[in-house]
Symmetry: C2
Subunit: 855 residues, 2 copies
């Protein structure tokens, strides 16, 4: 263990090197539309802040030193302080963050696995202890998961309903740049971890990969929040999004101890465009995490050394014969159909539950009934002495997988000695029933059970159940092959019997690949089993499965995104050339909220109340509408609260007080009137707040300031209050009429602009490449509209239905008249020109003059 700690320290020490190529260049990817201010400015401020805090720290340090100098080991202390300083200055480094994240996730993963194992053991123990009475046994078998799942559902529901489900769709949306704040809170983290542990501990066919991606992202978000206490670099939003991308890789990596597969899977599942320079972060964090995860297992004496999670031991010299490849291809194709069916079934169940209003109303009332019922059904069917005996019901998911990947053959091999089912494999044997029947039953039952179970509102994924089903299907084909060719297919003398375990590996990769639409399940499979000898069959099967599944259904995650109606930009349909005929001007919102350079605070106030975009356009004037830049909403709120805020208010009051003292010595008014006035004030604010719901929060500091100063006044001078408050209102009105001073405001001088004739296709590409959430549309510098993700989504979805059928895009009719022909483009340009001519242009146009000049 010492040596292993040694390595950790080394890794940490050499991670220092990593910072050089990691810290800064990464930050620029996926920045647009999200970054809060110019990074240059940001960096300077950051430097200033660090300097300042450094000074502060050094002051406190010298104090410390003075105190300690009298002590004995002063040198030692100085050294410690220096180390501490060094450490704090390093806290902002990427690799520190990644290592902490990896460590944390490995621990979480390991602890969760441990708890889940205990839960499962407890169930087995209860079931085993009650073997005298079948009914009691049944009760124990059924009650235990029902209680756990119900608890999990209830707990999640109460603490954070966002924790329900896999979380990959949400992460995909967040990484796309849409802010789903409530999905990355501490509450969600707790709900997800505890909910998932209980859900998996119940033994239902649920997975942990998806939730782990979410948990890792939660970890990253929380860690980043925590680290921001030390250094400001953690407040950079774009950096955090990159860290989330790395966290997704960590999630898969430490769940399966599969760093490479984890990175690839997370890229395939969550990204559209991927910055290659971001690649190493995922690798670094995932490798570290997987390493710690497996080291913990060694440390706990579960394993002798670091090995794969589901280690297989197929023969190396002759893994498979070339002539077995058609069978592998069959597995791939069949699993492609199976994967599509799974996604369809899953969606069907969710939609059925939603559409059936009677059921729905009933279930909404008793939210925990649905999980309990589903669990009851599934656990009843798997009850080992009951139907479960025909489908290896008593095995947990992990045990099933281990037995399925076994390198021995189950079916009888000619006259050779009968295979003795040892260990868990025993569960697959039934005295009356053939092993093929057991396998078929297992596949069919588990298939619908998994599709059903993943609709339960608990934190759960579908990857693992699908993986097991795939393995079972592969095993079935493998066993059939083994029964068909008892001596193997190879004809050149040596007998190489067929290895059904290899088929199971292929099947697992193919089905999970088909459901998630990824190719990287192949890599995950290699890392899970620790053997790569079946690489070509696995790759062929995965590619075939993907080809079939992708042409039939969306991936499970995309399906959930559509069901949950998450704000995700859909892909452009295939071969919809009509798309190119929609232009930005057709879909943009023409009623843009903007502020002018010489607007008053009242305008600002109104705009903030009515708009909803994160950034507002700054135009030169209402007439010219020339776009000068964009300002963050928060900046404007700050401006407003600065103008109406406490310091100015207090200054005003003090000023007034001095003036008034001379004139006033009036009796105090009755407090009832005072309070009623306050109430009316409050109502006024609430009404305002209501009309622009999202703005409510932003006015809180303003309100708070108002009432704080109010309260102070109460204490100071109750008598002057009534007079004061009316004057304050007056003052407020006056303040609101003042012209805004943009000097203290960060303005982005180059917001993203599109011209009105940009095609939908181009807009889509730009939005997805740059991760924009809105762009201004300008026509010769004039702001004429704004396009946000919403409009874009509508425009795209208007023409692509879920099932891929073609529907005419809403605006194609305007375009089809012939715009796309080149002649008309020129004609339109001429029209445009004429339009400009008729408008008062900056300088009057004289063709002859221009001709001369251009010569």
């Amino acid at each position: 263990l010492f040596v292993c700690i040694c390595v950790c320290v080394w890794v940490v020490g050499l991670g220092l090197q990593l910072r050089l190529n990691s810290l800064k260049p990464m930050r620029r990817y996926s920045m647009y539309g999200r970054y809060t201010q110019e990074l240059g400015v940001y960096a300077k401020e950051e430097a200033a802040r660090l300097r300042e805090s450094g000074q502060r720290r050094s002051v406190s340090r010298t104090l410390d030193l003075l105190e300690y100098d009298k002590g004995r080991c002063a040198k030692c202390r100085i050294c410690t302080v220096r180390c501490q300083k060094f450490l704090i200055s390093r806290v902002g480094e990427d690799w520190i963050f990644l290592i902490l994240l990896g460590l944390l996730m490995a621990l979480v993963s390991w602890v969760m696995d441990f708890c889940i194992a205990i839960c499962l053991q407890a169930q087995k123990w209860m079931y085993g202890g009650l073997d005298s009475n079948v009914f009691l046994q049944y009760l124990a078998w059924v009650t235990y998961p029902v209680v756990l799942i119900t608890f999990s559902a209830g707990f999640t529901q109460i603490l954070a309903p966002q924790a329900v489900g896999s979380g990959i769709p949400e992460m995909k949306t967040i990484l796309r740049g849409v802010v789903l704040k409530e999905y990355l809170t501490f509450k969600t983290f707790v709900a997800k971890v505890i909910g998932l542990t209980c859900a998996l501990g119940s033994g239902m066919p649920l997975g942990k990969e998806g939730p782990f991606v979410h948990i890792a992202s939660l970890c990253a978000a929380l860690l980043s929040k925590f680290m921001s206490l030390f250094g400001g670099i953690y407040e950079n939003e774009s950096r955090n999004i990159e860290m989330l991308a790395a966290a997704c890789a960590v999630g898969v990596g430490c769940c399966f101890a599969a760093p490479i597969g984890g990175v690839l899977f997370s890229i395939e599942v969550t990204s559209t465009f991927f910055a290659v320079r971001n690649y190493w972060r995922g690798f670094f964090a995932a490798t570290f995490s997987a390493f710690i995860f497996r080291v913990l297992a060694v440390w706990n004496r579960d394993e002798e050394t670091i090995t794969a999670l589901f280690k297989t031991s197929f023969r190396l010299d002759f893994p498979f014969d070339l002539q077995e490849l058609p069978a592998f291809a069959v597995i791939g194709i069949a699993n492609g159909f199976g994967g599509a069916l799974f996604v369809y079934l899953n969606r069907l169940i969710v939609q059925f539950m939603r559409k059936q209003k009677a059921i729905n109303r009933f279930l909404m009332k008793k939210r925990l009934l649905y999980p309990a019922l589903v669990t009851l059904l599934i656990s009843t069917l798997t009850f080992p002495p009951g139907f479960g005996q025909f489908m290896a019901g008593k095995l947990t998911q992990k045990e099933s997988l281990v037995t399925l990947l076994d390198n021995r053959t189950w079916a009888k091999q000619g006259i050779a000695e009968e295979f003795d089912y040892i260990g868990h494999s025993e569960a697959w044997k039934h005295p009356q029933v053939n092993v093929f029947v057991t396998l078929v039953l297992f596949i069919v039952m588990k298939f619908w059970m998994s599709a059903l179970a993943t609709t339960i509102p608990v934190p759960c994924g579908a990857f693992m159940p699908v993986f097991v089903i795939g393995a079972a299907f592969g095993r079935l084909v493998g066993e059939s092959m083994a029964a068909w060719f008892p001596d193997g297919i190879h004809t050149d003398g040596t007998i190489y019997p067929i290895v059904p375990g290899g088929y199971a590996v292929v099947g697992a990769a193919a089905l999970s690949g088909a459901v998630t639409h990824t190719v990287s399940t192949a890599v995950i499979v290699f890392e899970l089993t620790g053997q790569i000898s079946h690489i070509l069959p696995v790759m062929i099967a995965v590619i075939l499965a993907n080809a079939v599944a992708q042409s039939l259904q969306p991936s499970l995650y995309d399906s959930i995104i559509r069901i949950k109606k998450l704000p995700y930009l859909p892909e452009l349909g295939w071969g919809h050339h009509e798309k190119y005929n929609i232009r930005v001007e057709d879909i943009m919102v023409r009623d843009v909220r903007y502020i002018t350079l010489n607007c008053s605070y009242r305008d600002l106030h109104n705009v903030l109340l009515t708009g909803h975009l994160k950034t507002l356009a700054l135009v030169e004037s209402t007439e010219s509408m020339i776009l000068l830049g964009s300002i963050e909403r928060a900046q404007l709120q700050a401006l407003l609260s600065l103008q109406l805020g406490r310091p100015r208010r207090l200054a005003y009051i003090r000023e007034r007080a001095v003036e008034d003292k001379k004139r006033l010595s009036v009796v105090s008014n009755d407090s009832s009137e005072n309070s009623s006035h306050r109430a009316s004030q409050e109502v006024r604010f609430q009404v305002r707040g209501h009309s622009g719901q999202r703005c409510k929060k932003c006015f809180q500091p303003f309100k708070a300031h108002y009432f704080q100063s109010h309260r102070k006044k109460c204490l100071q001078n109750v008598t002057a209050e009534f007079c004061m408050s009316s004057k304050i209102t007056e003052w407020e009105e006056k303040q609101l009429d003042e012209q805004v001073n943009f000097n203290n405001c960060k303005i982005d001088p180059a917001p993203f602009q599109l011209v009105e004739r940009t095609s939908l296709h181009k807009t889509h590409t730009i939005f997805s490449l740059l991760g924009l959430d809105h762009a201004f549309v300008t026509s010769i510098g004039r702001l004429i509209g704004v396009v946000s993700l919403k409009e874009l989504r509508k425009a795209i979805e208007g023409s692509v239905t879920v099932k891929g059928a073609k529907v005419r895009p809403p605006l194609a009719s305007f375009r089809d008249s012939g715009t796309s022909s080149s002649e008309n483009e020129a004609t339109e340009l001429h029209k445009l020109w004429d339009r400009h001519k008729s408008m008062p242009l900056p300088r009057e146009h004289t063709p002859s003059e221009s001709d001369e000049k251009s010569q």
Copy 2:
């Protein structure tokens, strides 16, 4: 074999499914700045063309049918024709292309391997046959590679000098969007294939991975050219670039039979931003290619079944002990330094050869001398009876690798029986010298030899030699560990001896990762050896090696890009915050070539002669400078040649002729005057052509037309010629003065625009994300400048020198005065506003009015 063909057919048949999700959505990535016209228009034209050709084909088909109907098996023929028609309609599918590419590359790879093996065998045979005389043996040993390398260098030099080197840097540049046409020609393909075969056949420490990437890309480009005979879809440039990306993956994939590693390696090496949807193409093609490549080996009876290229057989149950990890980490770190040193050494040699003018001049004269000398030196040193005996000189690269990855231990293990060096391993044993000394000598000698050999101007890569050196270093560490802990480190009873082969695997991955700055060498190693049991050590070592190497040196490919001065956009430096203070307005070219909407053909002509950008800006007028769109240079050339082209010219001449006939019956002039006039015409054109060198070509059709018509006239009516030609010049001048009709011209109505205040940082990101090669800079709709890759590169390189030292960016001084503070931004905006105020704006600005409106 039948079954395997079966699978092929299946794969093909099911690839049909793939087309659905492959064909169209891919095409939109990396389109900007390169696409020739709106895709919508393109698609329509394409459809029209297909329809037309379809009709033509059906006509010929009916003819065929009529002919064949009289024959016996008419039905059969009809069926064939139908199949043919179906196949032709499918030719445009992506998957067909990918399969063809994979097949072709697998064949090329296999044939090349075969030839190389024969070459190497021939050398061995010669060397073995002459063992009676050491001098003769030496002659044979040395002459053979010298002849091969000299032939390879000469052949490449004569046929296509572009084929020299690895080709990955060039592919990186091409995939970035820069057109390097001469790198993708058939000549280059032939030169590369034959040159590489000879170079590798010589036994020099050269690799084939890099050239294979280039060869695959060449294959893709040529195949795409060939396929464009069938369907127009292959003329789409952006599609071809995507295919090139897939081809890079195929190159690595079929070189090492490593599809996953190939895809990842090619992504890491060639891309900056990667479209995830493009991912499956690489996987599909690389898998197919690797499959065929290995099937060919089985078919050739080299292998019994499909296995890894350098199959290892380490024990599975206990691959390594946790306490061995520090040794793996040491390998990683040391290889990181080694990798950086290799890149440095390689660059040093190239730069030394260039700087030494005397040597340089001499070598330039005798181009083949340098390769010959280097080869002589290296082969002399490896001569087995000479120095070669101390460094296993008689082994080829492949044999060395096989022996290094052997799972037996070479060093004596305590009292255990001495290891008997069998097969090739024998070469590592020397009666007087310890195996450690042999290994150290091997590493040191091969290190500089490889660095030197890769500078020879033949097609060659450095991956394989580096891989072997890494493996040797790993072996060295492994053997040391084995000697140090003869009974293994594990303390729990069972003895697990250390496996030095595992260390060799780790070392190979780490060194090659360090040199290329990639993590995916880990995956390549797993696929090459067929074992993944060492995943964690490999990952740790690769990450550490990358961390060290990346902080010291650029990758080998980036180094070559810099040496060759390829037009590649460099990465922004790390932590150069000054960058953010450079704005587009500082770097843009203000003297933009543009055309106005009402310009004359003469203007067009002048602009075409002076400009060099691929697209030209179309502005409304010289005064307003309002950007309306952009037009391709080719389009304008077409316009011009249409106006002055043959049909109009002939029409004019005919018209004139009719007129003139009545008046003219003059004697023919002397031909000398006529020819002198022609010469003067020619001179005039050449002078024009000279002033705008690049335009020379574009005027060829114009000139050709002119002289064609000229010649025709000569034949028709020599008498009228003099009069005619002067009139033609007159006519020409008149034509040039006409206003351009843009109706037949494709105009991109939404070219990419930046505002002048966009930061360098943002510009860089947009350029690299969208793959632009230029962008127009506008200020409130007015075109004020243009930024191309060149300017951007200059601006970035002005502040980052090759060695990473910081130099102040050229324009930072203007900015440092305080622009970056937020206050100044607002001030500047006010200035901007004032400036606009002073200019005649579209509508006169009245502050009070705007205030009212915005309320």
